[in-house]
Amino acid sequence: MYPPELKYTKNHEWIRISGTQGQVGITDYAQQQLGDVVFVDLPEIGIHFTQGEQFGSIESVKAVSDLYCPVSGKVVEVNSALIDHPDTVNADPYGAWIIIVTLSNTDELLTLLEADGYGELIT
């Protein structure tokens, strides 16, 4: 349910680290709580976000949720496939990354939750 290779925030984002970059998405729990996702508001490439800063928002039929950056870094890619197929977030929450950031401070990863810790948080 919560892939062990990912790191998690208390706000239900995950990050998949590869070298100095990380894909960011929302967890299965988050997509379940949201329900059918109909819109993902993506940031522009090149913007730098600090850890915990809002980088976008995601909307289901019934609610809006802000998206917070798990780590500080610069957006190098956005998943523009989500513009036309936002429901991918429901179907495949760990495949449907939203942005890729280049981390500016890898030490921040230590502040994130492991899968076990995140699992405890939501139960």
Binding site: G35, D36, V38, F39, E59, K62, V64, D87
Partner: protein
Amino acid sequence: MSFVAPNILKKTALNARHRELGARMIGFGGWDMPVEYASGISNEHHAVRTKAGLFDVSHMGEIEIAGVDALAVVQRITCNDASVLTVGQAQYSAITTEAGTVIDDILVYKLASTHYLLVVNASNIAKDQAWVANEISSVNDAVLVNSSSRYALLALQGPLAQKILQPLTGTELDSIPYYWFTNGEVANVRAMISRTGYTGEDGFELFIQPQAAVRVWDALLDVGAEPIGLGARDTLRLEAAMRLYGNDIDETTTVLEAGLGWIVGWQKQNFIGKDALITARETGLTRQLAGFEMIDRGIARQGYDVYSDERIVGSVTSGTQTPFLNKAIGMAYVPTELSKNETEIIINVRGRYLRARIIQMPFYKRRRK
């Protein structure tokens, strides 16, 4: 010492069924209600547009007025003309203030020549009851009964509603026109069967005794109806441009501003709010409820400000991404001069100023047979 009031939500007779079906429950108008089942709002919305969906709307209130002066009371407190109703017929109407604003939007059922049933919004039951009681007290030979707890109310909606319901009842459903009702049985349970609904589809609303609700609910699911929660009820009614009390209409909006002039019985001798509505009709409306669709990508929701020429000119009352039309639509009060079709407005969607255009309501209209 502090005293914490218990926040207990009321439960309909089908509460356990909703939970068994995996519904996500929310508090709505003081009731513990299903917002969506396992299949989700979009699938539920499509099921109603293409097949048939079953809603538990037992939270709705029922207020009965009976007595020699029952019609006179109904005529005084509601804006539509109930004198045109035949026994077995229903009409959409509103309880209005002296200012012509909306205390509640309701359905009026003529059960017998001296007996009317008002179906009212769950959150307004107490308010409506007090208002009507006060109006009755003055002169009339009529009694008021809040019979909300005596009814479970199920809504079966969708193009296949009649086909699904027919095998479960001896009533010839084809003989019930839109906005008419009859007494019969469904799944061997006594029911008042009404051809009404809040989705823009053909369908029926079934008034039954609460203790029989599970039996009828199960029987309808067995023959292919899908359970639908309040989430899809909201997206369905919005596509059909049906007003939602508390969002699109309330005691600050007149019936005319809300675009509900068609439920005003102008020829009626008198009703509360008539003078104000006549004046408003003569002087013209300064603002009107208009439908819009987003031009830019984004979803406008209730409370978002509407701009024109960099000034706030109104506010969104309902808005969503519709699952069926697959676009972002909504309703907003805007100045009359901006309410014409194709007029462009700007909506502040959480700091982004997005373009929208006024379009004709309803957003969705079913094909009639």
